[in-house]
Symmetry: C2
Subunit: 217 residues, 2 copies
């Protein structure tokens, strides 16, 4: 499987690095094809790692991971090109956060979500929202946090969600810990978890935590 | 300690019933003093249980629990009377939810919360947000759900939060499972958890679940 990871920030590099470790060909996509961070990452990560513009990365991939900031996700995916997303699984891990006076803000929120915006803008992409509820180190190494803590998947395409759940399994998340919340509208719920995540991050002073859904039966 | 529980719905009756079991004097408050549900509850719950209008309930109490729906909370508390809330701990357990076409909606959301609205409207009340992240049966009987799952407290008044944490201990929540998120603004984060709670409720088909925050250290 060939992956594109859009976004050269810590989230993108962490996901891309783990995919290379797993033996996949990965292109780390950025706005420009000569992004020095992406080129440096590709050089350090070895022969299966490549760098390229968003469109090059998406064109070369069978699965696209959106790891740019939520406020610029649509721009990045437009640059990647609808023709390079059509029919492909697009894993959206972003959150539409910004900070105002040190306070986390979300936009869109409640009446919409980034994942729905992406699915509307690219109706032929098979969008799956996941991983946005944990820090990127935990995304690819859930053993950093004790317990049977959970991830969520949201999306209209059940086969795409199964495929993403298998990938999460390779990251270390057993399938029984991946809770399917339903269609892409349910992405609102997981994006709205961010303020609580951030409040706990501030309280604990680190990001090695996650939520485990406990239930009676 | 004398408690007022505002709201005669399932949440209010469940909280009021548990408080009577714990040996407290409780007035179940409603819009009118002859609310048949409240009168029936008080008769069934025994000598420490009373029914009354919001203002009567709040006037008689040292601690007020707001268990009306989030969309009518301010109206109920205005009816209770600022003079009967001043200096008292007001425990806000409500969520500002409504349903449109079967979909849960929140208002206010993200830029405000019901708890902050209450604190602004009644600046002399000592507002503590808690319990709104679990079903009312779990509120008063956390053992319905396995594991060391958590509650949150939010509010400006540390002494009020300690007092509420002690009450939660009487409900069955050890203090180490009650996470203090900070000031009343942090109530936004716990009110915004509701869409995820509701998605899981739909998935599981029951409400005996809760979130356990797992962390590395």
């Amino acid at each position: 499987m060939r992956y594109a990871v859009l976004g050269t920030g810590e989230v993108g590099r962490t996901l891309a690095g783990r995919l290379v470790e797993l033996g996949y060909d990965v292109t780390l996509g950025s706005r420009t094809k000569d992004n020095p961070v992406a080129l440096e990452w590709a050089t350090a990560a070895g022969g299966r790692a490549h760098a390229g513009a968003f469109a090059d990365a998406a064109a070369a991939a069978e699965v696209v991971l959106n790891a740019v900031g939520g406020r610029v996700a649509l721009d990045a995916l437009r640059a990647a090109g609808a023709e390079h997303l059509a029919g492909k699984v697009v894993v959206d891990v972003c959150n539409p956060v910004s900070f105002e006076d040190g306070q986390l803000r979300l936009d869109p929120v409640e009446s919409d979500s980034v994942a729905e915006q992406i699915q509307r803008a690219f109706p032929h992409a098979r969008v799956v929202k996941t991983l946005n509820t944990v820090n990127c180190q935990v995304m690819v190494d859930p053993g950093r946090v004790p317990g049977e803590h959970n991830l969520f998947v949201c999306g209209a395409d059940d086969a795409a969600k199964r495929q993403v759940t298998e990938l999460l399994g390779e990251f270390g998340w057993p399938a029984e810990r991946v809770l399917d919340l339903g269609g892409i509208r349910s992405a609102r719920a997981v994006e709205m978890l961010l303020p609580l995540w951030f409040g706990l991050f501030q309280r604990f002073g680190h990001a090695d935590f996650n939520f485990e859904v406990r239930r009676a039966r």
